[in-house]
Symmetry: D3
Subunit: 244 residues, 6 copies
Amino acid sequence: MRVDGREKNQLRPVTIETGFVKHPEGSVLITVGETKVICNASIEDRVPPFMRNSGKGWITAEYSMLPRATETRNIRESSKGKISGRTMEIQRLIGRALRAVVDLESIGERTIWIDCDVIQADGGTRTASITGAFIAMATALGKIQDEKKIKKFPIKSYLAATSVGVVKEHGAVLDLNYIEDSSAEVDMNIIMTGEGEFVELQGTGEESTFSYNQLQELLKLGQEGIGELFELQKEALGKLADRI
Amino acid sequence: MRVDGREKNQLRPVTIETGFVKHPEGSVLITVGETKVICNASIEDRVPPFMRNSGKGWITAEYSMLPRATETRNIRESSKGKISGRTMEIQRLIGRALRAVVDLESIGERTIWIDCDVIQADGGTRTASITGAFIAMATALGKIQDEKKIKKFPIKSYLAATSVGVVKEHGAVLDLNYIEDSSAEVDMNIIMTGEGEFVELQGTGEESTFSYNQLQELLKLGQEGIGELFELQKEALGKLADRI
Amino acid sequence: MRVDGREKNQLRPVTIETGFVKHPEGSVLITVGETKVICNASIEDRVPPFMRNSGKGWITAEYSMLPRATETRNIRESSKGKISGRTMEIQRLIGRALRAVVDLESIGERTIWIDCDVIQADGGTRTASITGAFIAMATALGKIQDEKKIKKFPIKSYLAATSVGVVKEHGAVLDLNYIEDSSAEVDMNIIMTGEGEFVELQGTGEESTFSYNQLQELLKLGQEGIGELFELQKEALGKLADRI
Amino acid sequence: MRVDGREKNQLRPVTIETGFVKHPEGSVLITVGETKVICNASIEDRVPPFMRNSGKGWITAEYSMLPRATETRNIRESSKGKISGRTMEIQRLIGRALRAVVDLESIGERTIWIDCDVIQADGGTRTASITGAFIAMATALGKIQDEKKIKKFPIKSYLAATSVGVVKEHGAVLDLNYIEDSSAEVDMNIIMTGEGEFVELQGTGEESTFSYNQLQELLKLGQEGIGELFELQKEALGKLADRI
Amino acid sequence: MRVDGREKNQLRPVTIETGFVKHPEGSVLITVGETKVICNASIEDRVPPFMRNSGKGWITAEYSMLPRATETRNIRESSKGKISGRTMEIQRLIGRALRAVVDLESIGERTIWIDCDVIQADGGTRTASITGAFIAMATALGKIQDEKKIKKFPIKSYLAATSVGVVKEHGAVLDLNYIEDSSAEVDMNIIMTGEGEFVELQGTGEESTFSYNQLQELLKLGQEGIGELFELQKEALGKLADRI
Amino acid sequence: MRVDGREKNQLRPVTIETGFVKHPEGSVLITVGETKVICNASIEDRVPPFMRNSGKGWITAEYSMLPRATETRNIRESSKGKISGRTMEIQRLIGRALRAVVDLESIGERTIWIDCDVIQADGGTRTASITGAFIAMATALGKIQDEKKIKKFPIKSYLAATSVGVVKEHGAVLDLNYIEDSSAEVDMNIIMTGEGEFVELQGTGEESTFSYNQLQELLKLGQEGIGELFELQKEALGKLADRI
């Protein structure tokens, strides 16, 4: 049994609370075990310069951790005056993943800003961010469709993410918490659509490597876990689920 | 009656939830009307260079808003690569205020980091931050006293803050929300100790001025409001209240 | 008697030299005891983006110290690549104060840049900056009125500032020099108009607090001192004084 | 046939020139089709602060493009004053990959700096950088082993990388050039060891997705291509190849 | 005899390879002894804001060194987040020198970007950059003349540069390598036109000084050396030489 | 006759006021025509890291202009967050020049910080800075010699600087003011020692060139002008002049 008593193919408890903060068009608090992320979606009526006059919209994401989301306090990136490579990687990943399931032409020349702010971290913050941001984005798009700003609901498919990895004593496991993640030999993030297609696959040997067979095992665990996340997302969306 | 139905000398509903996030030594979610701030206190076992070998501790604060804490989305200060003048002013104010009620020698060469992160803003974020941060700090200091790291409880007095201001139709009012704050002619932040002494007083005519008599009226409103905040703080502290 | 032989309610000697530097529309060297500040006012024929098409003008201030204005040399903010919190606070204060006594509509879509550069510091640099900047600004506005660029003299009232504070051996005193300021328990900056109204009041207990009675005493000292500054300002303005 | 006449499973011509620049301990010019990267390895006799007294060494990489390595000129990151997210991702990837095949304890408290500077870009710059950097690093480590600074040759296995992707008219192809990469639906970077294990796998749907079967096809192409790269690396290493 | 066996008035071997990189309009690899610089010229169809609507073009240069161009590795300026004073001086010098021999009106509202990237350094990198950049620029201008974008070949004269200096044991010498440069008492960079006029003269005593007579001797050496560089430039230009 | 009525070989009126600001060890206000520069010298009892344990001292300079030293207001470099190339060039030049006439071993492991702050600019600010900084530095070194911190007066020779240039209607002229400088074809800064040796020579054709004969003429003008500056420096130093 794993450090927190889970089976190898068992997700941590996941909750998705919508309407968490009042101002954003979509706002979600997602909890995955002890990991908690506020995911806000804001809609802006213009696109970045490189997209102007394309008739298409854009989706971009920012990710941050409160300084004390972690065991020891981290220095704020605003105090350091620059964003770390890790943050950049994560926010690029979130934006890219969300764009894969949205018909950018249907949203017109608008930008959807996704803000994922981790208030408590215990592993898997980037995958929790993607799973939660999908709901915040869907809520926001539902809202502007209700306001007749867009005609068609632009989301083509569900999107969720989880991590899998190879941990010394247990081999391949699903949804690593911080302790497992710290000691994992292999760490893989999987992002999939409701149709069972991959959007992104990032597997990394941490001063280690992995075989073809291990890869297959990890993919299977991830597919199962993401399947469960889709059920939770459907529930969180309520009536909005019918539009997808 | 005011825009939200309050009397001139009436605070908005205030709640103080302790233990909000798990990692910090002290963690509070303070709600003042629609304003919500996470106040975390972290204890670090060293002081900044200018305090080394002084035998004294230090208290410093950082303040930030989530990009969509407000009606329209603000650019992150980490993306801009620098902290705004407003943020600097506020975090200097929070740190200075807290230091006024703590015996820095009793905490030894430790730094108390206060992080105030506004997740939803509706006016009065800096005064809510101070009122909440006081509880987070007290919790953290209680914790290290329980762990015998310090002998004496180093807090000398309660500390709370509120805003008062002169609003066109109502004259002097207590605890301005965002709408009132935006149109106020005079805006004043008052920070006081449980002994009824002033720690800081910042009154500003916003392209306007105020008379000696108006000042007296504002001070009176503030003193009353802060008196009520002390009651709420006492309750939030529970048993810890006995140490002050 | 105070460290420099003054009475508690006595200002240091103040001189205001106009036309100090040749290029700016208004240029003043103000001396308050050993504190010396060059205050330049520049008029630019456009406003910042957030004011465009408002028909109104804007006043903004920048403050800096020469590295060796102080006892020991400070690193230049241009070398550090960022402006300190203290500098930001001061320059925001100067701008806000000046805007309180100017009819921004009368100056049209112009920006008045105020530059306060401290060449020698001995306490009270921010209040000296405000008192001097008022004269530089008035000179500049007089100049463009003479040039028929504006019709009406847009200054509504005099503006001056001083500091008061509570010093251990003397209690409440007026116009603190650096030695007094360093050891003051309470430090308060008062900015007033010629009509005797407050523009800004910033009182701070430095790891200390102050009572309601002390506050009243400080206000009284400040009002008296500022009254004397208005006389000196009037004299420095010469004929221009008739327009206010 | 592909745009440059290659088969789907055909690499572009690859050359690896060692000793390209005289100062570094290891220096390689790798050419993959029209992509040209200078890979330099420098050995520094100390480690970053977080590794001190660990008895282990560290490997870190930096990646850059000359402004005109590309069709149109890019602004230098030194002029912009910050490194882009893309650059950060790539240099973190290169460092992580190299660390996977080196016994960090055998190199002692030394840092191996890898500098990959792209002088001409035509797709696949990050995978070319890894393949070339491996040779530069091996040369540098061979040099300090010859100088008796380290006892054991610390490289545990070969390391090479290539890209695979799904291109509209051709389906899965190996080693995409810039034109193919620009229009690819799926883009995957594969890094493997001489033992046939994966070090890193990064597959991305570019506003698109990929199925399980497509993934298997891409992996197969990548494995074959990397096998050929190992032959070229062996040749480039000359006698040094015997130590691995 | 000098450290590398040269006479006092002898240049190091110089080679100029055109067409070195494929994308830029002009691309040169210049080798001066062990110093190697890639000089690329890019043509952009617009000018910086301060030149708009002037009808004239602009020439600007950037200079950089690969981190391991030197004996020990230098930190990248992009990592430091700012450009050093030395780099700024050099790139301003290169741009200014090139502008002196080009008729900016003939190139229309275009910018010629010159990028000088030192891949191996052994003294004289700035003068090698100028000599090589001239050829890259001429090639680029020849190309757009061939494309009929400009009517007249806008280069008015040849331009080349070298260094001279006073070295302890040898007195005045031509074209200092790194060892000589490090110990030189006087260091002078001379930039001249094909007409024998000076474009720039920068002589510096390195914690030392130089007399009027030494100056004359240095000028003479420089003039001779630059004469030889003009021959090499002519050859490198091939047919293009006829247009100057 | 020149625009301000001077002869071609005539300096503008020069005044050197010592003891201008009270805190620095040496403080000078130098006036050259309408150009006014405050030159402060500060002595710090340590050297930068690269000089530690060398037994030698260091001299470094910083240069800045007040925003309104010029006809139109310049943005502060502290607001821009970086120092311009022009400023860097000038401050490197000032430091290098002063180091040429000081015996760095005699000052021990101390740093002399030179701050040149231009309060009014009318051409020749860098040469005025050098001429004034020499006096500030000499005063500061005299002071620490009087305090017995150093044994020997470490200045080996006088140091002064001026500009010369070629102006359309007048040919070669001495000490250009801003109007002349703006339209000059050739601009040359000359720095010399009291022994008549050159310390630095920087001649630049501004989109123009100069001949060998023009160079000789400019050198002659510069030598004469600097000779007069030495007389003024001697006078400003008073008794201290005897130590050089």
